[in-house]
Symmetry: D2
């Protein structure tokens, strides 16, 4: 209950600090019998990896997963056994000494002050546990979850919809990974992507940072996932998204614009889709009463501009004395391109968890 | 794990359907030694009660709590013993027959379809478990939590900031209950409140509904509450808010507007406040790295227009055949005034839970 | 996490004190679609009820369940909907004043001292939450669980094997309820039952109490239930049995006698049973590696003589001063006959929970 | 919820198979500020290590912990930060090929059959996850927990009381580690220890195995730990002990012999101990009503003779066909000496967890 475990039946527990020995985690509750595609996991990590383009931090990490348990070799590849999957990802580019000058100082809008207030001491090296490097373990587990979802016909994709005030001119919808990854900014609208990249380059030059918004779409989710009343599917998705390092806002389906409509125009009318009952519009974002209804699940996550700017800044030390901080280190001018796989990973974790939980909802399973 | 329990150390488990025998719940983990003010709990329920003004549904419920366990009489009043607090709230105005015509039909944007998809059957009476009446138990538990927070110097208040497009002209900040409850619409800006009330009256006349936004402020929260990395304080607050029936959006601190700023302008500079280290601005919304920093916690929750409109509407039955629904029943044209105590209750539950969890964070408690 | 919830997917949370308003609980996670036999639940409560024979306490309680939620009427009876099942059982024979003289005194081997040490105050009325009356809610939930198990072909039965040193001359095995309940002492060996009853009558006359042992047998449990490594099926059964008020010992399968054997004689050889693989002996008690193997699950639970004796006794008050206690109140000379339904109820709760958990063990359910 | 996590606030999650890459785990919820003595942890592992004497398996493992996270260097040594502690222990002596002949066969009283029944496939290498090697991670976490308990004045010690029918002639009581470890059999009564060692040597020569009993004593536990009604302190200790690989019986305090007494003789009279209220006898085993009372906590755990015997044995294959198994591999003739640190580790985990949980029991902590 100290906050490093996520999920109920499909559970991830993580450990690791930014400049410590290694990051890692344990996936417990992965069903037995999954032929695990390790390359696919590695490919997800490559999407999160620092240094992948000029838009991201220059820190270089191989981010290779070391798999420690939970599978046996079967027909030429690893298959899950139902045992917990332990893994580590080494920190090869740790530079703890970079942070010695911060040991008595609290950087603005970082977790330096709050960690020390909570625990009485803190790991100053790169933010320690508060570093976004922690999310590497989520991507590993999310990539395992995605492979389970694939067996159920569920696809999860996200993309950058907006960087600062530069926004795609299209409503949220599913875009293939090829479309999304065609541009390093991960916006599937090429013209907008180019403008976003320019903005990020400008901001980087100024030693500053920008935020924006990511759209998440899950398609193929069958009707019936989600556990009222507290573990509504979107409540667990919300917790997932707000557990990411820089989240500032979240919208479901029609989101903010939905709060401006009248009920008579906002309601999604049911229609017969032949093989299933669907809705004519999807303002609900695929979830009604906390349970998936078979339509696309649509979320929009807003991210703040990251706090680490390469500009001088004023702050205080532990005793409240004013100090000047120079801006240095290796950081992202805009986290959104690298946050796309994080948003996807967290969504995959929630969806698999609820897929398994749904198996207990009826007396006769499958009926 | 079927979704009807909320919290870790301070836990609420609820039961009850809209038109069943009773609503109720169990608060487990309420610390021993709290002199419980039952009238204060009842007063919270009065704020949530239907029929309290012309702006709300005409369903009448006394909503009196029956306390079943967990206290002993001590110096003239009940004091908690550490045992679970069981309670019920009777359904006195249940009219299950009102819903007979819906048993084969799915109302648009309600949970009728998804509950049936999930469980294979459903309680058609007023939405059953999916009814917002379920929140009555949250208000009871939240009111207990609020009394614990008071002993820690923490105050929690919410208010209606916006109805449809009518919004207060002031930035989010703490308003006293007297200010908020001065107008039945629960907006502490009288002129805006009056405009909101007019809009709601218009919409009601049209048999329609509207949504809007509620601001939640918690002040006095000490630095140090929240459990990285998954149980960040705002991640648990997010889950709490998204577990409410009509949530469409959530923002923390600067929220959406923060995603448009540059990092250099968004960062909250630390300043010496004499007795504590504070921040000059509060774009972080009182939480950094998932842990409270001592500033006001600021959330904005967007609510959709409720789905039940008193207008005819088309839908389908279980077999996909088109049906026409007339609009009838007793419903709120705008849930926001009654949602204020819900938002507060959920915030209180999360904050007490994290106050207790924080007690385990250090080897030497209090050091 | 304050200890009043049991189970993972099928969860019981309880409340209530011996001389408070009511006992009760919430069953969350009961699968939808169970046609609930309420009379069968009531019949289980009748087996636990005080005053059912001269061997038990003279306290009279109707112990009628009031069902508050979680079902709909379908084809003439209640069917579970997947919503939480709330219930209460009134305390009709509460005599709180009987305990006023104990408010500053700690009865030997009761929970008076430890509750006060833990919580700083206590409910003196009949032991408050520490009373065995708390188990009434377990029997209700266990009876629901038993009905789910019946749909899976699992039967759970217990009986009194030993009272003090009077023991059945037969090895543990399944006995039907008719056999067990044929004698109020609930020992299915009539001659032994008669001797046990005589012993209990003697002890009652002396104002004293006796303990003994109960055997629990679950038959029809399929191979595959149990979650290594910590939630081994017998680890959860152990926790269940040790959560009962007077447990002193627990044995699985061969139990203590097994610890005296050599491995070569203790091992259960596998044999082909035609439709399944079985074992020639059952020293494992139906569980190997923490997972059921298809053989009968066999447990033996030892209970102490209850602490409330109707004899004068010395103790101390809150300040450590010696006090003399007279023996009075309404109590059982031997809890074992009434503990039989408790042992069964707890076993049913564990088994249903693991039946549901097993549904998540494989990628392809049912394969 | 797949069974590989133990504890509530102080939580261990483990992974690893006997002949896989590594064992390991994550301790989440270790309070910040503990100066961690890594050598002391290593010393506990040395007590569990195979090959430590002629009484144990000849498998050789260095069992060195690799610490991956959760501490910072402070005043010359590692101090916990409140972040999760990740660790691994390499498998250096894995011989997976030793088990190829078992892939279609189920060894008697092993977990081969049940794992396959549960998961549909299994890791045949040395029992995979079902191997007792899994307990290495428990010893690591238990050793961390022990260091927290030391700051609270709590000592935890266990010893071998009985091997098969050879038993110490003394009642259960605390023995120092020096006394216990003076003889490799870990019985603190030298004469009995010598007889036990002879018996084990005889049995080893015969290719057979024996079981016995271990006594666990925790002293210095303050009154007040334990969470009624389900998480009674002894219920959690019971689950802990029954989660170990070869447990067959458990007794608390007077245990089985207590079930033969009358209540009037079994009750523990309270007495004034000057600084605290104590009991004249300790038949309760230090726990009343599920809460510690300040007396020594006394448990007795019975272990079966391990199933792996070096004798030929008959069994069946997956299709039920009879097969002959030769006895081979590296195994312990008697697990009890090596189980002593396991019993202690599990007790330490439970006690620290409840120490932290007790911090939330009262409104005013410490009052």
């Amino acid at each position: 209950m100290a906050g490093n475990t996520f999920g109920t039946l499909f559970r991830l527990t993580t450990f690791g600090e930014s400049h410590g020995h290694a990051m890692g985690g344990i996936v417990d509750g992965c069903p037995a019998g999954l032929a695990l595609d390790l390359d696919a996991v590695q490919a997800e990590l490559a999407r999160r990896r620092p240094g992948q383009s000029s838009l991201t931090t220059s820190r270089k990490e191989a981010d290779e997963v070391q798999w420690l348990s939970g599978t046996v070799e079967h027909e030429g590849g690893p298959v899950t056994t139902g045992a917990p999957i332990g893994f580590t990802v080494a920190n090869t580019s740790a530079r703890p000494a970079d942070y010695d000058h911060l040991k008595d100082t609290f950087r603005p809008s970082h977790a330096d002050f709050t960690y020390e207030a909570k625990y009485g001491l803190r790991d100053v090296r790169g933010g320690g546990r508060a570093s976004a490097r922690e999310t590497v373990s989520r991507v590993v587990a999310g990539a395992v979850a995605r492979q389970i979802l694939a067996t159920l016909g569920v696809e999860v994709g996200a993309y950058v919809e907006r960087v600062q005030d530069i926004s795609m001119p299209l409503p949220p919808s599913f875009h293939s990974r090829d479309e999304v990854d065609a541009h390093p900014v991960r916006c599937p609208h090429p013209e907008t992507a180019a403008r976003m990249a320019d903005r990020i380059a400008d901001v980087k030059k100024a030693g500053d940072t920008v935020g924006g918004a990511i759209v998440l779409v899950a398609r193929g989710v069958p009707a019936g996932w989600g556990e009222p009343v507290f573990d509504r599917l979107h409540a667990d998705l919300a917790k997932a998204m707000w557990s990411l390092p820089a989240t500032k806002s979240l919208e479901l389906g029609s989101g903010l614009s939905g709060t401006l409509m009248r009920g008579s125009e906002h309601n999604d009318k049911f229609v017969d889709r032949g093989d299933r009952i669907g809705t004519a519009t999807n303002r609900s974002g695929g979830i009604q009463g906390g349970i998936s209804n078979g339509e696309d699940i649509l979320l929009r996550v807003g991210f703040k501009p990251v706090a680490t700017v390469l500009q001088p800044s004023s702050s205080v030390d532990r005793d409240g004395n004013p100090v000047e901080l120079e801006g240095r280190g290796r950081h992202d001018p805009c986290v959104l391109p690298r946050a796309v796989p994080l948003v996807e990973a967290m969504a995959c974790l929630v969806l698999v968890d609820h897929a398994l939980r749904q198996r207990a909802a009826r007396l006769t399973f499958g009926a």
